[in-house]
Amino acid sequence: MIKNPVLMKELRDRVRTWRSPFLITFYLGILVIIGGFFLYERTMYGYAGPRALRMGMEIFNLMAVLQLLLIGFLTPGMTAGVISGERERQTLPLLMITRMSPLSVTVGKLLSAISYILLLVVLSLPLYSIVFFFGNISMREFLQAAGIYLVTTLTLGSIGIFFSSFFRRTTVAVVFSYGITFFLFAGTFFVAQMIRQIQQYASYAQGPVDVPFIIYFNPLVALGSGLPMGQNFLPFPGGMFPIKALAPWQVNLLLDAVIIIVAVGLATWLIHPLRAGTRKKG
């Protein structure tokens, strides 16, 4: 896969523009400013005793959520133009007549976006030294958060690539990709809230109702369910998730896998040059 020519070209392409250092600075800058402010605010009056025990977890939670929001902010912009851009530059047919399969083109494009996001996550690692300074965070929790970043990037990236192959114009693809991302991060929460209120009203006598299924699509919920003290900032605290056998982040992982397969599959089908056959039979 590392020999995928599209991936290699995209990686080179991404680091050649002024956007690359700007994005890295922006990404790390946001983490440092907000993380720093939080740290300052919490340590203003000292951090001895039980407060110190919670400090590591609190900073970790903040950084994890912040990082996921930044991924949600950056990934659609990075992927929504990759196929439509090829169409606009008229280079897509030239790629299609080589020995590259449509699938290797879409996968190469997706992996290049993932690689870039991974680069940003790796670059932010030194900031986590503050978390480990306070302690109380296990490597498992840290890796779990990293896993959710990766899957969320893949999901949002696949959606971006799907819209990029569906729409001819990059601007339209960007708008739709951000629209869906916003829906996953915020829309699912509002829809779940509405459903829950209606259900609660309808089954008032039967007691509390489960959290609506749609909330499993929310990347923040997936992240929260795997974080230390994450239950505190999950929506609807105290509400039961409908699938008891799996943790919310595990269900989210499975749903994301389906989204990735469907979105990449459709994108691959859409760029296939001989797909729209209007051939008469016989």
């Binding site: 020999k3 070209k9 392409d13 530059r89 280079t91 030239l94 299609m96 590259m100 001989l274 209007t278």
Partner: protein
């Protein structure tokens, strides 16, 4: 090498191709000529495995382009009627990228790229960004891209469009060189004379139909019953025109702005002498009387009726 059988392509109600058929021999250059919108690009796209025809079949080296497009793609180099370049890549990187897309090993690519750049005379631009190249250079680079996997067949859609006269000549020389290297080339243009001296055979397409196929000489002899004679007179063009029109061999007379008469005439050389004598005997002061030949431009205008604008 290339065989096209009853190719049809329909976009909604519009018929872009109405069942064209032709064959191209190995190691020859075939010119595909027609006005803009006649269906040239559609036909070439089908051959390049980038489009499905509504009906008909096409074969390259005996392989059906629809049944086995992957095999066909290894045999063809396709140059569309636009550049298709990545601006942020250098010339060598651009060729290297396509080389890797054709699964050419990295070690072999270096040598191939160097040879190709020499062939298209871009060795001195190897480390320049593609964006900084002139139009002619970009066009030559695109041609080099088509050749990166050493295809047997080249499908070139208007490779000389937008080039200045010098770049056109260079492109023509390059194509001759490629023919010598054993490539079969199908090349489209909307300018017939551009292809006439290059191509062994031409196909003239208009409104999705092939109006004529064959060697340039064959098309000239088959389709041009009339000769075009230019008559220049010192004075009295009106009288000269009247005398000419009365002659049974004259189909039409066209008076140009500079007083030259263009006569559409059918008949052999004896009949031509007879026509000149008629003019002289009628007292017309003839300065010159010459057959201009049915140049390709005239022929093209005559065959294509201007259906497509």
């Amino acid at each position: 090498m290339i065989r096209v059988e009853g190719l049809k392509k329909q976009y909604g109600k519009m018929e872009a191709l109405k069942g064209i058929s032709f064959e191209i021999n190995e190691e020859s250059i075939f010119g595909f000529v027609g006005p803009n919108g006649a269906g040239k690009t559609t036909a070439l796209k089908i051959l390049a495995t980038l489009m499905v025809p509504t009906e008909g079949r096409a074969f390259i080296d005996g392989i059906d382009v629809l049944k086995d497009p992957k095999k066909v793609r290894r045999l063809i180099g396709y140059m569309p009627d636009f550049f298709g370049v990545y601006d942020r890549l250098k010339v060598t990187e651009y060729l290297d990228f396509y080389g890797s897309c054709y699964r050419i090993p990295a070690a072999a690519r270096r040598g191939i790229i160097s040879d190709l750049l020499e062939l298209v005379d871009l060795s001195h631009k190897a480390d320049d960004y593609v964006d900084s190249l002139s139009r002619g250079m970009k066009q030559r680079l695109c041609l080099a891209r088509c050749l990166v996997h050493d295809p047997k067949v080249l499908i070139l859609d208007e490779p000389a469009s937008g080039l200045d006269p010098r770049a056109r000549v260079e492109m023509r020389e390059l194509l001759r060189e490629l023919k010598k290297m054993g490539k079969t080339i199908i090349i489209s243009s909307h300018i017939l004379p551009e292809l006439a001296e290059l191509c062994a055979e031409v196909g003239i397409i208009e409104a999705g139909e092939l109006a004529a196929v064959g060697s340039v000489d064959f098309i000239t002899s088959q389709l041009s019953q009339d000769k075009l004679i230019q008559v220049k007179v010192q004075s009295g063009t009106g009288e000269a025109s009247r005398v000419l029109r009365e002659h049974p061999g004259v189909a039409a007379v066209n008076e140009t702005a500079d007083g030259v008469l263009q006569v559409s005439f059918s008949g052999d050389t004896t009949a031509q002498q007879e026509l000149l004598r008629t003019l002289v005997l009628a007292g017309i002061p003839v300065l010159s009387f010459a057959e201009t030949g049915n140049n390709l431009e005239n022929l093209f205008m005559r065959i294509t009726k201007g259906v497509v604008q």
